[in-house]
Amino acid sequence: MALVTDTAVVAERNLIRLTRAPDLLLAFTIQPVMFVLLFVYVFGGAIQLPPGFDGDYADFLIPGIIVQNIAFGGFVTALGLNEDLSKGLIDRFRSLPMARPAVLAGRTLADVFTNLLSLVILVITGLVIGFSFATGLGEILAGVGLMLLFGYAFSWVFALLGLLVSSPESANSLGFLAVFPLTFISSAFVPVESMPAALEWFAEVNPFTIAVDAMRALWLGAPAGNAVWGTVVWSFIILAVFAPLAVARYRRAAGR
């Protein structure tokens, strides 16, 4: 019970913070919109959509860019935890009679809300520039749920990252180093068939490709294969590995 209450208290704190640091909120809203516009209007015309894909590049891109953004969403957690660590707030939390995982659970729970926000903004942007859903409400909502789960899993990766690195700057660079290749060598922005063989192989086993394919299936009615369940399984694997690692690291976290 204490875990639920404490997690809610920490999540509330992180959401309050977000409203007090509007620049962060701005990054959540403006940056992905900029990416959508750049991709659609700069690269969109040059990219050959896979044969049999029913729609234009905006339809192709929106699920991909949503997956990328949701995966990036946990960055706030890495930066925030690292700041808490260096400012001594983690010491304070660890000296309080609160449930041990609550600081991380609250942090990652807050990410679910920010991820939902960025997802809504991206969908609206997409609808404005020509994206359209080809499926029913149930599948659309299933897609939203799937993304929130996927993002939640990645938040725990970022939680661990935030506790391990020495500064917010290095969290930033390491995060970008990991997320950029993973999301770009996937079906998010271009058809994987257009890549060199080695990259194509990597792109096909990449969980991001699986997540993007799942979203295209749920929102555009593209053939799903095992993508939807694959994404669920990947999410739980990531959670099962990184949540315990992050909590173990938190228990030992020494402020300075």
Partner: protein
């Protein structure tokens, strides 16, 4: 600025659980970080309702000792308990009896003063309503009520320290740990914080305070433990420690080259040790209980025709204590090892 000595009457601390035993006890605490030995067998005992000042230079092991006692670090060896609760076995229960305020003012800068206190109160298990009421009470007594709804990032350094201390007090814990509470504060804020801490102790709270400031330990602590290289090298009240250094000293500064003549005159006094001469000043160790020394010294110096610039009895300071015990001055950082955090 009005004094900050008032704490709310409702802030009376819960009595420590096992009132017969010490509030804080540590025996043979050891902790190393790689090759750096931070604690090398520390023994401490703090009686309920008293203040122990843990005094030592940077890197002496003060912070590590606090981190072990507040369950942030596990000791490699030895035992420690707070309110009779073991720091390892009963860590969860122990945390509900302690408050920690550190030198880094651990408050959330983006939350307001009140939001910070409500958050901490709720994490101690208080209801939102109780936490709010208690937070308001503390903000008022710490003179932060006008800033209660401003984000803490707009606070001055002194205000943050007060908010940090208030956060440690939200749940009225019987034992408070203050890790260098006034480091980096201006003199006025320091005095104000001292007043607050004294008021807390008057309410029955047990305090363990680390400091590198001898005057701070002198003013606040009932007992002082001097720690160096991870060991407690001396313990006692401020007076006891000073007595270890020796009794009072008569210091005389004379004009011109009359120091030798003055020394001769002072050596003739009964019951004093041989004077030492350093330039124009002469120092005579005076055994405690020897009375009338100033009058006699003035008379003898006058008779010898010595021209006196300054004359006074000096009690040893904690600086003398530290110098005597460790062979270096308290703020000498050149020989310290890195403070293992």
């Amino acid at each position: 600025m009005p004094s900050l000595t008032a704490v709310p009457t409702t802030a009376a601390a819960k009595p420590p659980d096992r009132s017969t035993g010490p509030a804080i006890r540590a025996t043979g605490l050891r902790k190393s970080f790689g090759d750096v030995v931070a604690l090398d067998g520390v023994d401490l005992e703090v009686a309920p309702g008293t203040v122990l000042g843990l005094l030592g230079p940077n890197g002496a092991g003060k912070t590590t000792a606090v981190r072990v006692l507040t369950t942030l670090l596990r000791p490699d060896a030895g035992e420690a308990s707070v309110c009779g609760l073991d720091v390892v076995a009963d860590a969860g229960e122990l945390r509900s009896r302690i408050g920690l305020a550190g030198q880094y003012a651990a408050v959330d800068e983006n939350l307001t003063g009140l939001e910070n206190l409500v958050m901490v109160g709720r994490l101690y298990g208080m209801s939102r309503r109780d936490a709010k009421a208690r937070g308001g009470e503390l903000l008022e007594s710490f003179e932060l009520d006008e800033a209660a709804s401003r984000p803490a990032k707009t606070y001055s350094g002194g205000m943050r320290r007060r908010l940090d201390l208030a956060a440690a007090l939200v749940a009225k814990p019987p034992v408070i740990f203050l890790d260098e509470p006034t480091t980096g504060l201006d003199p006025r804020s320091r005095l104000a914080l001292w007043g607050t801490i004294e008021a807390l102790v008057a309410e029955g709270t047990t305090v363990l305070l680390t400091t590198q400031y001898l005057d701070e330990a002198d003013r606040l602590a009932d007992a002082i433990a001097v720690i160096d290289h991870g060991r407690v090298i001396a313990e006692g009240t401020s007076d006891e420690l000073k007595a270890r250094v020796g009794g009072e000293r008569l210091e005389v500064r004379v004009a011109g080259d009359q120091a030798e003549r003055a020394a001769e005159a002072l050596a003739a006094m009964s019951g004093v040790e041989a004077p030492t001469v350093d330039g124009a000043s002469v120092t005579v160790a005076v055994p405690s209980g020897r009375s009338g020394i100033i009058v006699e010294a003035v008379r003898r110096l006058d008779q010898a025709g010595v021209e006196v610039d300054d004359l006074g009895l000096r009690r040893p300071t904690l600086d003398d204590v530290f110098l005597t015990l460790t062979g270096r001055v308290a703020d000498d950082e050149t020989t310290t090892t890195q403070e293992a955090a």
